[in-house]
Amino acid sequence: MPPDPADAAVVAAVADAHRHEWAFVLAATVRVTRDLDLAEECVQDAYAQALRTWVERGVPASPGAWLTTVARRRAVDVLRRDATLRRALPLLLLDEQPGAEPERPDDHIPDDRLRLVFTCCHPALAETSQVALTLRLLCGLTTVEVARAFLVSESTMAARITRAKHKIAAAGIAYRVPPGEELPARVDAVLTVIHLVFTTGHTAPAGADLMRRDLVERALDLARMLAALLPDDPGVLGLLALILLTDARRETRLGADGGLQLLADQDRRQWDQAAIREGAELVRRALRHRPPGRFALMAAIAAVHSVAPTWDDTDWHEVVGLYDVLVQIWPSPVVALNRAVAVGFEQGPEAGLAALEPLTAEPQLAGYGYLAAARADFLRRLGRNVEARHAYEEALLLTENRAEQAFLAGRLSEIAEPNRT
């Protein structure tokens, strides 16, 4: 028997609510339970109940509010039933007096998503834990899915999440939005986590696929949510712009043969123009703030590429100028590497190679394959094939992403034979 189309619509509605409302529902439920595990259980129950109830009564006008009400009612029930059992648990600290609110879960549902965001991304948690909690609590991923994203076993990831949740409660990481003076540093920690989710998805650290679309889309969802909650924060605008502008090229990063396509070789007509327009407008807004943040500058660099009709039209002078500012506010060796590459395209491979030279002694870049790959490319352009071959071989050893490996191996084979002409 074919599935009932009405049921299919309900399944789609629940899936959509899972993707877009999970953080809202969970954040509002945590306030009632003051316990992350119990809140997660209640929210999962609410989604399961939605599947059953919505088939009978139709999808409610506001699925998020419906789910929240059900989850919070369930939480109140459990708390009443297990009051003595739960008294021994350390509870999350709220910055306001827990009053009669849990008794009346149906009225006034607060938007507590920011509290949840700042709790997940608290700097007293290890960065890997911050990322795991963000995917689990804000995006609603299962532990198995989070484990797969970061290439660790399910048991390792489960232990990491349990440890982090326990620290939040036991060490007294409060469920609150930090006050004004702490806010910039705390927002930056959140942006770092979302950016890490994005980069992990954009170029998977290992495996057959260049990209992990699911992680890219989660990062985009998170950045959009944050932009809705903190609409005037330049860092948030910058990060959303960066993700949009970078991801606008998603369809062209692999060629017809499945091989990696460099920016220079991509078919720019296939870039997502709507994403580019939105990203470029966000960059303009983000850059109005002084000094510009690192994400706004990275987005501005991505925007320069996005508006160039062809690779040859790229305004490398502008790109290098933006990197000069970026390296000032964010003196990271990786930024310096990207700047050196841009110098190579602005002033020629000789200059690029010279700009890379001081970075070869940088311990942080010792295992970083893009340094060897950049050197290899400049050496190849200069016809210094013996040195180029060594650099390509080094780069090959330093990536476990198969699309990148195939690209580097292809370049290597082009210059494999000594030039006999």
């Binding site: 600290l93 910055d95 007293a124 036991a170 007294g172 409060a174 609150r176 702490e182």
Partner: protein, 115 residues
């Protein structure tokens, strides 16, 4: 109100080599820290160097062994502590950041409550 123990870990060699003026200056900073956070402070002390420590292990064996030295020998050794009250971890960290530790750093541990 939750309590937190701030453990001060510092390089004992640097303390030993510090001039009298430098030592007096750091102690004065601890005095000023104590004044600034008088409302949150519940206790605290400086400790003698880890060379004065004695370790006892094997409580459950019935005949514990007593040995000379600290529980774990480290370059940056436990040299003092403050017990504070704070509303949450952020408030505790704000106070902990203010503890003068020129030769090391601090560790913040929530005090466990049994009821």
């Amino acid at each position: 109100m939750p309590q937190y123990l701030i453990l001060l870990y510092e390089d004992e060699q640097s303390w030993a080599e510090a001039s009298d003026e430098k030592s007096a200056e750091i102690l004065a900073e601890h005095g000023a820290f104590g004044e600034r956070h008088r409302d949150a402070l519940r206790g605290g002390s400086a400790l003698q160097p880890q060379a004065t420590a004695t370790t006892i292990r094997g409580w459950n064996t019935g005949s514990p062994t007593v040995t000379d030295g600290p529980f774990a020998e480290t370059k940056e050794a436990l040299g003092g502590f403050y017990l504070i009250e704070a509303a949450d971890l952020d408030e505790a960290l704000a106070i902990a950041r203010d503890v003068p530790t020129p030769f090391g750093g601090v560790e913040v541990r929530p005090v466990r409550v049994f009821d």
